[in-house]
């Protein structure tokens, strides 16, 4: 027997029009798949962290500006009341 037989795992079955190649997952394939899924899940989780961080930064900025506006308007109102008081004083 000079003919070299290829290893079983890589052997392609003889082409048979009636039967397609059997699609099944060996234990090794399954483990490989699970590992890849783990990597993908990790990546997604990390990406989501980035997204949440970016979203947080965005809304924090807007909220910060809102607070700034609010405090400014409070100061403005106090100033206006002051002026009103002064005017009332003078009217009396």
């Amino acid at each position: 027997m000079d003919e070299v037989t290829p290893p079983a795992s890589t052997a392609t079955p003889p082409p048979d029009p009636a039967y397609g190649p059997a699609v099944g997952r060996s234990l090794a394939d399954k483990e490989k798949l699970r590992e890849l899924e783990g990597v993908a899940a990790d990546k997604t989780a990390r990406d989501y962290q980035h997204i949440v961080l970016a979203y947080g930064v965005l809304w924090a900025l807007f909220a910060g500006y809102g607070i700034f506006l609010w405090r400014r308007s409070a100061r403005l109102r106090a100033d206006m009341n002051d002026l009103q008081r002064r005017l009332d004083q003078r009217a009396r």
């Binding site: 980035h50 997204i51 961080l53 970016a54 965005l58 900025l61 308007s73 403005l76 206006m80």
Partner: protein, 222 residues
Amino acid sequence: MRKILPDLCLLAAMPLLVYSVHRVFLETPIERQMGTAFKIFFFHVPMGWLCMLMAVICGVAAGVQLRRRSAVAGAVALAAAELGFVTGLGVLLTGPIWGSATWGTPWTGDARQVTTALLWLVIAAYLLLRHYGPRSSDRLAAALAIFGAVNVPIIYYAVKLWKTMHPSTGVVASLPPEMWATFWPGLIALALCTLALFGLRTRQLVLADELDAAWVRLDDNL
């Protein structure tokens, strides 16, 4: 009508924001090349556009302020600069977060990044000058804003020229239509929010000016 316009904008932005977040996280497919982190695009890019818009508004208002000596234009310019500062900061912070997720590095020195950073510096300088400048600095600040607005395209070309001396990196390619369908509501919502804050701040500045004038009149009459 003009009084409640900012409130109307905020009201309209609320459902749009919810819809946009829903679309971004639940309806839009994950981009092949860049993965999930690509979703940062949907609010990073609108912020960039809004920052540019605010810079342009600031420059135009500063021109009107110089030409007509209008205090209202001055208030518009200051409010636009403040919002440009906020949105610019948003772009500059979310950009590197996106970059570190997809490119593996927060800063690539891409022309757009550098242009935005330099524009933001000009806006910051404008705000510093408006707040801490000497008495006649309103007009000087207006000139600064005009120069800043004119500088934007020049900076972009300068950075591109500067980059040709360095290795360059690729940026976002074209988008499929369903991505754009997610992009527009987010853009409109953010734009409405920004414009509402802009309107509120402008009105506040005008009121502060009038209040100061009233105090001065009171003092003069004493």
